[in-house]
Symmetry: C2
Subunit: 577 residues, 2 copies
């Protein structure tokens, strides 16, 4: 699988050329890498800073092996030595615990993040093994995993899930079944209120309800999604259909009730949690970037595990409206949380670290800076999410210019998706037997047929035409914060209005749009309403747009917003009718 | 001023008979009173627990002096001895700081709450002086104030405002001008980013912008309102009109853009802050009870300082929809935060302490349990907010059965407000010269005349008839979370629908009401909409109520909700049109 350009190919280039170096510079400056070289009682950064070094390492592995990618093998050798140097003789590895003057190992399972960090180490080790880019890293991961299996044979688990999916991946790479069994034990131990009660409840760290009995995801969004991904991995490798169905059921209900239009998840800043069903306020959307990364990972796992291609729809949505939105054009700035409604012009942070609570523009770094490295590893390995094979042929889940060698075939895909809706697949090589090429048909393109089964010949073309007309989208009436509003979507892209495109005297919070008219390409029609000019915002009358002048409201893809300076922004537009 | 029964007289009785004893029991059990007797390196409770003992003491002073109140003078003598015993020889008083093994005095101005606690001590001392109920308490307060003046002559202030208004009150009681000057200095020192930056910004503890230059209240709601009350006190006593106008301007804009229909303030759980203009989500309303107490205190100060009676409207609204809502019928349970929309049936906590973040029913105690004692002191002293006098006569700001001796007159007020709208004032005694009796006419009763000027004779009656027809209220179109909704108000009461009153097969989140029909007493008419039954809550069509059966939606005053077991609740009702 090789992306040969286009929307995501360009982002892979920026990721490999700029993002990984930017991240390394910051982590060196802040001492997060120094922690490995000079462990001290007073480590720099937070209890999860080690994991950032591992995530970057994983990204460098994928990037170095990516056809056309930047070669970071020298840096990987250096990082491998750095990481390995901090590993204890028995395999334990965390720079903040267990040495003289430091808190004990595993002294706080709820918040210590020992196992969370080890999980990311193991994922980097797995990437190293799969790509052959970092000699010795797999062995470090294996020693860490062996220590975990020895320590947690009977009880205990980490407040922040992540090691579960890492251990299954390590099992896949090494064939060592103990890792799978340990992952299964971690998944099954959760949900019995074993950890001390958190001030946000046991739900916060996924210890309120066993994975098997949940009905919908709740609590801390990233924790919930990481655990679910680990549970799918365990279910697939152990044939545990009950567990797989439990995760799919919860994810489906989360998509139906707890997901923003962008595919982003999370509506509470306080505890970085989902919030209740249909609590989806655009102006307080949390929609953490890392939750987007986790949604892609979980949805793709469920797609592969169940064969249900519609999980590709949410990957498509999240990639184009969460991941693409988060990262700045320069690859050196990003959103931690992603509001769907900016009420006051967004401050554009310049050069300095920010608190994760901060609103405003993309920032170069956050005190908790998981997003950037998490995206870096996702984008560098993005090809793996775009196609799959089975005994019958090839499935194209995402649309991008790419070459796919799978299912006994070589395919070249040509498309300018998501800007255009035409996808052309050229069969470069195919065996002389019937094969199936399946292109996912998004729900918004219902009617199109994406399944082609035949004996393909070299040079043959398949074409999928997706309707890219702008369309109105309306919310469920129970989504109170969206009542009386509509949004415009174009293909997988959620559109937004940004104040910088409005005429000087038009304010974004005074516009109501007319949904009886189909949206045009790049604009909708509306009118200006007159807000109350009162000392109290609750009155005995409604305001009206009758008799006011029409206005044109230019729209742009949400992922393009906040790239031209301070502005206000809305996805959900109040309607006149 | 004596409340002789009615809505608030009954609550005063419960407050004096149950609430204060309930609070004392909890504070003894938790060791918050023990801290005074046995100061230790490891004090019980939080850094502001001392202030709870002071707030209770203040409440007991007001209650003991209230005509018809419970006499707590013995307990006051005991508390005075307890408090005085913990005071250092130089006047400093905080049970957690300055002793062997404890952190230093004023070691953390941002969060130490030294001065905040001292402020509540001084307010209790002032109440003791005004009521003559706690001999020796004034002297303790004076010593504390003297120590503050000596320590903070040149710089410094507390992260949590409160001592400002306390010092002005102490000046009023003692005539010692140093206290007023110290209060003015504290007010003027704020807003220059002197404290270390908070993770929620300097705005959080009112250090981002000087009081004089603010345009609207922001940051932590209770901090903002306490500081504003202190600023009004300083402005009035020093003749600082610029300062008074600055506070009035900010409060007016806060009422117009950052206040819930109930009069509650605060829309962010994360930092207990206002949130931006028109961010007023019913389901995530924070509307802290203490913010309600502070709003009453500030609005009444502005009313007295400016002579603008409309500030009485917000006192009326907050008393009947925030204060009355918070406290349970038994006087032993309360809401910390007050949602305007309960989505899932509220858990009814039984007997145990809760986190302040917890939703659900009224709880007997919270880890941060400021609300209960704050309400206790407000309710015990409530009469002081209901009437005032000036050289021309008497102003009746709030309506309750009461006897008012003021402005050279004795007045008996008879009313069953807020259940009824008729207010009868009987002039029991009056001088043989023209006097003015002014009854506030709420904005929702515009047209009525409340000003009566003449030579009154004994036995003469004045009558005010306020329209108590239920009325529809609509939100400003910029209040996105309220779009497409209406609420019903009756007099000062905000009404709500509670699921316990609905027929079994009707769900509160499926109802849309018809605002073309006037609301009836106790009910409105609506229809059921059909939610999407889809895997994704955003679709290309809207749902409709056409053709569905009409339903009757019973309403009750918001302050009555959550008193009959778990239920869902809404104030803002989606409309069909």
């Amino acid at each position: 699988m090789r992306l040969t350009g286009g929307f995501w190919g360009r982002r892979q280039t920026v990721n490999g050329a700029a993002t990984v170096a930017h991240s390394r510079t910051w982590m060196d400056r802040l001492g997060w890498t120094t922690n490995f070289r000079e462990p001290s009682p007073k480590t720099r950064g937070r209890e999860f800073s080690d994991s950032e070094v591992y995530k970057l390492t994983e990204a460098l592995c994928w990037e170095s092996a990516r056809p056309g990618g930047e070669d970071h093998r020298d840096e990987l050798a250096e990082l491998t030595a750095l990481i390995g140097g901090a590993q204890a003789a028995d395999g334990y590895l965390h720079t903040a615990y267990g040495r003289a003057g430091q808190p004990p190992r595993y002294g706080d399972l709820s918040f210590g993040h020992d196992l969370y960090c080890a999980g990311h180490l193991i994922q980097a080790a797995v990437a190293a093994a799969r790509t052959g880019t970092a000699a010795g890293l797999l062995e470090i991961g294996v020693r860490a995993a062996d220590h975990i299996c020895a320590t947690f044979a009977d009880e205990g688990f980490c407040g922040h899930p992540e090691v579960e999916t890492a251990l299954v991946e390590l099992y896949r790479v090494t064939g060592e079944r103990r890792y799978l069994e340990q992952a299964a034990a971690f998944v099954n131990r959760r949900g019995h209120r074993t950890l001390p009660e958190h001030e946000f409840g046991w739900e916060y760290f996924q210890d309120a309800v066993p994975v098997r009995s949940g009905t919908v995801f709740g609590g801390h969004v990233v924790r919930a999604l990481y655990l679910a991904a680990g549970a799918v991995d365990v279910a697939v490798e152990t044939g545990d259909d009950e567990l797989l169905e439990a995760v799919a059921r919860q994810f489906d209900r989360t998509l139906a009730r707890r997901t923003h239009l962008t595919g982003g998840m999370g509506s509470r800043h306080l505890d970085e949690s989902f919030g209740e069903d249909f609590v989806l306020p655009p102006d307080r959307a949390y929609s953490e970037t890392c939750a987007g990364v986790a949604t892609v990972q979980l949805a793709h796992r469920l797609l592969l595990a169940t064969g249900d291609l519609r999980y590709g729809d949410i990957v498509d949505r999240v990639l184009h409206n969460v991941i693409a939105t988060s990262i700045g054009d320069d690859g050196r700035s990003f959103f931690y949380a992603q509001t769907l409604h900016q009420r006051t012009p967004a401050e554009m942070p310049s050069g300095r670290e920010r608190k994760r609570f901060s609103g405003g523009g993309r920032a170069p770094w956050f005190e908790v800076s998981c997003c950037l490295n998490n995206m870096a590893r996702l984008i560098a390995s993005l090809g793996t999410y775009f196609a799959s094979e089975d005994s019958g042929g090839v499935q194209l889940h995402q649309f991008a210019p790419m070459r796919v060698e799978a299912g006994g075939m070589v395919l070249d895909v040509h498309t300018d998706y998501p800007d255009g809706g035409t996808v052309r697949v050229t069969v470069v090589e195919a065996p002389p037997v019937p094969r199936t090429i399946t292109l996912r048909v998004p729900a918004w393109a219902s009617g199109a047929d994406g399944v082609h089964r035949k004996v393909f010949e070299g040079g043959e073309q398949i074409r999928l035409d997706l309707p890219m007309r702008p369309r109105w989208t309306f919310p469920d009436p129970r989504a109170d914060a969206l009542r009386g509003c509509a949004a415009v979507e174009v293909g997988p892209l959620v559109m937004c209005a940004e104040s910088i495109d409005l005429e000087d005297d038009v304010r974004l919070d005074e516009i109501q749009v007319d949904t009886s008219v189909a949206p045009e390409i790049g604009a909708v029609k509306g009118r200006r309403t007159t807000p109350f000019d009162e000392s109290w915002p609750y009155q005995s009358h409604r305001t009206t747009t009758e008799g006011t002048d029409p206005v044109v409201v230019p729209l742009l893809p949400y992922h393009r917003w906040a790239r031209r300076g301070p502005s206000t922004m809305r996805i959900w537009l109040p309607t006149t009718n």
